[in-house]
Structure formats: C-alpha cells, structure tokens
C-alpha cells in the first residue's frame, strides 16, 4: 500500500553539499562518544505527510564510552586501516573524508571502548560517532551533531541519538534527522541496570525493524505528549510512565525475559518506571535521582531483582550537571 510506505533516506550528504576550504593542515584526530542504556521510547508515528517515521529518544549513559584516534595520511591515499571487526568505522571514515572533501587521504583508526556488543547499549553507534568525530578533529573541522547524525546513518543504516549527548531529541534513527528537539536534558534519573540475557547477545543491527500495528502507531502519538511534558518540567515520574508504556509495547516485538516480574519489583520499590533497550537485552529501573531515600530504594530493588535471578550489573545517573527545576 502506497500510503504505508516508510521514509526512504535521501541524506544531505548525497546531495551536492561541498564544504568550503578543502585545503589545510591536519593532525592525528581524537573523538569520543558516550554510550546509552537503550531508549526512553522507541516507536513510529505518521507525520504530516502521512509517512511512517521511526523514532527514538535515547537514554544516554556517561559510564559507557568509546574513544577513537584517527591518524590521517596522504601516503596511504585511499587506504584505510581499521581494527578487524570495524567495517562500519571504515565506512564512517570514507563518508566523513568525502564530506570534508579529503577523499585523497587515507589513514589508520584506533578504537577503545568499554561497551559490550549485543545488549543494545550503543556499541556500534559509539564506534561510528567517535570515528566521525576523530576524522573531523584531524582536519580541525568540528561537526554539528546534526551533521554527525547524517554521516552516522549513512555509515550504519540506523543510529542511536548519542551524538546529541545530553540534549533530548526525538530522533529518526533510520533517516539521521531530528523530528523534534525536546529539551536540554532528561529529568534527574537514577538507573539500575539489568542485563536480562547476558548469555544471549543480539545482533542488534540484523534484528528486523518492528512492524507496528495501526493501534501502536497511534499509541506512540499519544505518548509523545507525555514525554514532551516530562522533559519540559523535568518530571522523572512522568518520564517513567512513558518509558514503561514504550517498554510494554516493545514486549510484543522484542520481548525481554522476566519483564512482568521486573515491573512488579519496580512498583513495589517506588521506581518511576521500567525502561528497556528496544533492540537489545538491557532493562533499567528508573528512580527519581533526587529522592531522599534513593539508596534504600535502589538496594531493596537490587535484592528483589537478585531473588528472581536478575541481579543488576551497575547503576548510573542522568545527573551530570546540576538541574534546577521549578515545581
């Protein structure tokens, strides 16, 4: 059906956008990228043109990161050396060099990451984004997150929104564009991370995209109102409601083991909600980071989770800078 077609990427970089100043100095470039803990929401909506747009809002996790170093070389012209299994980074280098009008260069890439593959925490996108940033840095050309997003999607087909760092965006992960800027940071959340399938990592890229029903497409539209308000007012409880709803819809597509039990534990310990990596295996219990008895709640929840064989791996907070919200 024609009306049900999805957006076909027509990326900015495929058009004739030629950066100015193609001659200049270069050096070894460095780039970092922060990983994530899945998404607050991931789904699809029909936009004004009635085309289905897939989107997500990433939950960034500053404990997770990838560092890239790119050594450009004219001698290597057209020759790119990347670590063994980093084909997407190779693609990212080619695309970024082309974007910067430096395709006459080759170079060597070094990557260092603390993110495990296959659990939906952005191992692939952090490689790609750190690489793009390192290449850009090598030529002294810092790139806007919007440009990094375009390049990343061109390199790996679908990307998480980590290039926007603490800025919350509703991101079309297969188009590499922002559908909506939601605000400058998530509400103060403390996240208790559970890996529901440590022994069974997923090939997150090969996992087919969810086929949402008409009812689900409309549900994401309904939820978009609540996430806007949650971020605008910095309300972790409202955000937790959205995350739980999206995680519940996701159960029909990529189910997480023990999801019901985890939800019961979340409620029993006054968590704001349950959040998942929609194409991965990790699940997060979300708590209000400003809650006075946060530690008691988190420890009690950890104990309950261990009792069902879902002992949490680590905890982190979205509170990187001081957030002050009017009530």
């Amino acid at each position: 059906m024609d009306g049900n077609r999805e957006y076909t990427p027509n990326l900015l970089i495929n058009r004739a956008v030629v950066p100015i100043g193609s001659v200049g100095a270069y050096k070894a470039g460095h780039g970092n990228a922060t990983g994530h803990h899945g998404e607050i929401i991931q789904g699809a909506m029909r936009n004004q043109d009635r085309i289905i747009h897939r989107f997500l809002v990433t939950l960034p996790c500053n404990e997770l990161y990838t560092q890239a170093r790119f050594e450009p070389s004219l001698q290597l012209a057209g020759h790119i050396i990347v670590p063994d299994d980093k084909a997407k980074s190779r693609m990212a280098i080619e695309i970024t060099l082309k974007y910067l009008n430096r395709s006459d260069f080759g170079g060597q890439l070094h990557l260092r990451s603390n993110i495990e593959k296959g659990f939906g925490m952005g191992s692939s996108t952090t490689d790609v984004v750190a690489t793009i940033r390192a290449v850009a840095d090598a030529f002294g050309r810092p790139l806007l997150p919007e440009i990094v997003a375009h390049l990343a999607v061109a390199a790996e087909t679908a990307s998480d929104a980590i290039m926007f760092e603490d800025n919350c965006v509703m991101f079309a992960q297969r188009r590499g564009v922002v559908l909506e800027y939601l605000g400058s940071g998530l509400p103060p959340l403390h996240v208790l991370s559970i890996n529901t399938a440590r022994d069974a990592p997923l090939d997150t890229v090969a996992t087919p995209a969810a086929r949402y029903s008409d009812w689900e497409l409309q549900s994401f539209c309904a939820l978009s109102g609540m996430i806007r308000r949650a971020i605008r007012t910095g309300d972790p409880y409202l955000l937790g409601r959205v995350a739980t709803a999206s995680a519940t819809i996701s159960q029909r597509h990529i189910p997480k083991p023990a999801f019901e039990e985890i939800q019961v534990i979340a409620r029993a310990n006054d968590a704001c909600g349950v959040q998942v990596s929609h194409s991965g295996t990790v699940v997060g219990l979300l708590f209000n980071a400003f809650c006075p008895n946060l530690n008691v709640m988190v420890e009690s929840a950890s104990k309950d989770l261990s009792s069902i064989g879902m002992a949490p791996d680590f905890r982190f907070s979205t509170l990187h800078r001081r957030h002050e919200y009017a009530s």
Binding site: M1, D2, D214, W215, Q218, C221, A222, G225, R229, I249
Partner: protein, 339 residues
C-alpha cells in the same frame, strides 16, 4: 493538493478549561471531526476511498456534519441517510456543504429507524460498490483517531487520574481510555449514558437526550474500559448544560451538560484526583431548544432540582428515571468483572 490531514487540526482538537482545582473540561467545537478526518485519511491511504469518490453514512447528528465539512474540502460526493430526527438547522448546513440527504420515513420492523437507515445505506452500497462507508460504530479507526487528544491532554496536564465522558459510538471514550491507560493503567474511566439506551444494558426505548447512547450496540464500545457508568436524563442534562454556560461561560451542547453534571460531582468527592471531562460539541445547534427557556418549561422534569448526587443502581437494566450510577468495574457486556 488542496488539503492535507492537518487542514482542520485547530478545529478538531479540544480547548482545555479549568472548572475546579482538580477538574479540567476539554471542549470540542465538533468532536466528530477528528474521527471522521482520521477514517477518511485511512480509507484514502488504503485505497478504499479514491479521489473524487463517493461516501455514504447513516447519521442524524454531528458525524454527518463532520463528513460534510471534510467532503466539501476534499471533493467527495457524500450521501447521508437520516430520519426526521435531523433538525432543520443542521439540514441547511449539510445541504450548503453539498451533501446529498436521504430521509428514511418509516422505522424498520426491528431495530427502529436506525435499522431502516442501515438498510438504506446497504442499498446504496449495493448500487455503488466503490462507495466508502465509514461505519463509525464499528470502524476501529474511530477509537484510534483519539491519539491526538490523549497527546494534547498529557502534554498540557501530565498524568490524569479520571476520564469522564459520554458514550455514543464508543469511539472517543474507549479510544481515549486505552491510549491514556498505556501510561496510567490505574486511570478511572466514567462513561455516561442515558435511560433506554442499550449501550450499558438498558432496554431499548425512546430517548429524549440525543448525542449519547444508542438503540443498537456499537462494536466500538469496549465495555472493559469502564469503571463506572452513569445514566442522565434529558431534563437533567439540559439544566446542567445551562449551568455550565452560566458558571463557566462554556457554550456547549446537551451531552456536555450530562458530562459536566457527573464530573462536578466526581471532582468534589475525589479532591485528590485530577479529572478531565469531555465536552463533545458547542451550543449553536441548540439555541432554540436547550438555550430556550420557553422550550424547556414544557419539558417533563425541567423544574425538578438537580440531584446533588446520583442514585446507585446494582442492576443496569432496571427502570431509571433520575441520574443514576452503577459500578461497572471494567466488565465485558454481560460478563464478570475483571479482578
């Protein structure tokens, strides 16, 4: 293209008005515009409705007006099957918008006028197999259309505890309840019906209050969404409509009055709960009836004082003559309550 699906976006969404510290009214100009637009969008997308095609529907109310507005803008041939309940003001407006009206003169052997109208629609569809019939009572796109209202409510008000509104086709209340329960499974949902409507188990009969209730069971009523059901009579609804106008300056139709009466009572008794009440249409159609004292004084029960609180009934099929409530408890029709 002359139109897109946002042509009526400011017309199809409600205005939010605080009525009490814990109660917000969501007032539509013409609520049916939203499901009508969405049903046409979906039919266009799936190819059931071709450019310049035919639409046929049975209606004596605002759904017909919504279809006529959309057909005028989008260039469809609209045929509406109705009966003598169609008031002349609406009739003029429908004709001005280019709709073709078919008036059914006699009720069917069973199912009254509603069945006779459905029969006429089926005749039309047999004659024009390419015509699209939205069938608002059973089309699943009717409840689905209300996502944008849930979006508006949650964006403006955050999480709410209670949703209150009238039930006719079941689209708005069943759809909104399901959408809002995604983010709040504990949401309380209060449906409002009128005596002699079959929707929540009354025996079919003549109903003075229009725009809610039904004499046939609409498939779009998802009974399991309702925690509580109220029945409101015409005289009560009209009095409350006038009070809504006098005290809050909201000029709405009779179903809004019925909803307001229940919502005001609920909000006063549940101060800790944030409630939203749906007001489906504005008052212009009712200037010669609800807003006309001479007309009202001739009505049975008009001079009775409004009840402060509803009567409680345990059997939804019992004879109801005043505002009554029943603990529906999210059960399916005739089924056991969900625990």
């Amino acid at each position: 293209m002359l139109h897109d699906h946002t042509t009526f976006v400011d017309y199809e969404l409600p205005r939010l008005t605080p009525l009490a510290p814990n109660l917000v009214g969501a007032s539509f100009f013409l609520m049916k515009l939203l499901p009508a637009r969405f049903m046409l969008d979906q039919a266009e997308r799936s190819g059931k409705l071709k450019p310049g095609g035919r639409i046929c529907e049975t209606t004596s109310g605002t759904f017909g007006l919504a279809l006529a507005m959309l057909s005028a803008v989008r260039g469809y041939h609209l045929t509406l099957v109705s009966d003598n309940a169609l008031d002349s003001t609406l009739q003029y407006r429908l004709c001005d918008l280019g709709a073709h009206l078919e008036i059914v003169e006699r009720p069917g052997a069973t199912g009254g006028f509603q069945q006779a109208r459905l029969d006429r629609v089926n005749d039309y569809l047999a004659q024009y197999p390419d015509a699209f019939c939205p069938r608002q009572y059973e089309n699943p796109d009717n409840p689905r259309a209300y996502a944008s209202v849930a979006e508006l409510i949650t964006e403006r008000l955050g999480n709410i505890d209670t949703l209150i509104g009238t039930v006719g086709s079941g689209g708005s209340m069943s759809g909104l309840a399901r959408m809002l329960r995604l983010s709040n499974p504990d949401l309380k949902v209060i449906g409002i019906d009128t005596p002699a409507s079959v929707v929540f188990g009354q025996k079919d009969g003549p109903r003075a209050l229009r725009g809610l209730g039904n004499s046939l069971m609409p498939k779009n009523v998802d009974h399991c969404q309702f925690d509580e059901v109220h029945w409101v009579t015409a005289a009560e609804a009209y009095q409350a409509t006038r009070e809504l106008h006098r005290t809050h300056a909201l000029f709405q139709g009779g179903t809004s009055g019925a909803a307001f009466m229940v919502a005001r009572w609920w909000a006063a008794h549940k101060p800790e709960q944030k409630s939203v009440v749906i007001f489906p249409d504005e008052g212009n159609r009712y200037t010669s009836t609800i807003y006309n004292d001479t007309y009202l004084q001739a009505m049975e029960g008009w001079s009775d004082r409004l009840l402060e609180a509803p009567l409680t009934v345990t059997d939804p099929s019992c004879h109801i003559y005043r505002w009554s409530r029943h603990n529906w408890n999210r059960r399916s029709l005739g089924g056991e309550p969900h625990v």
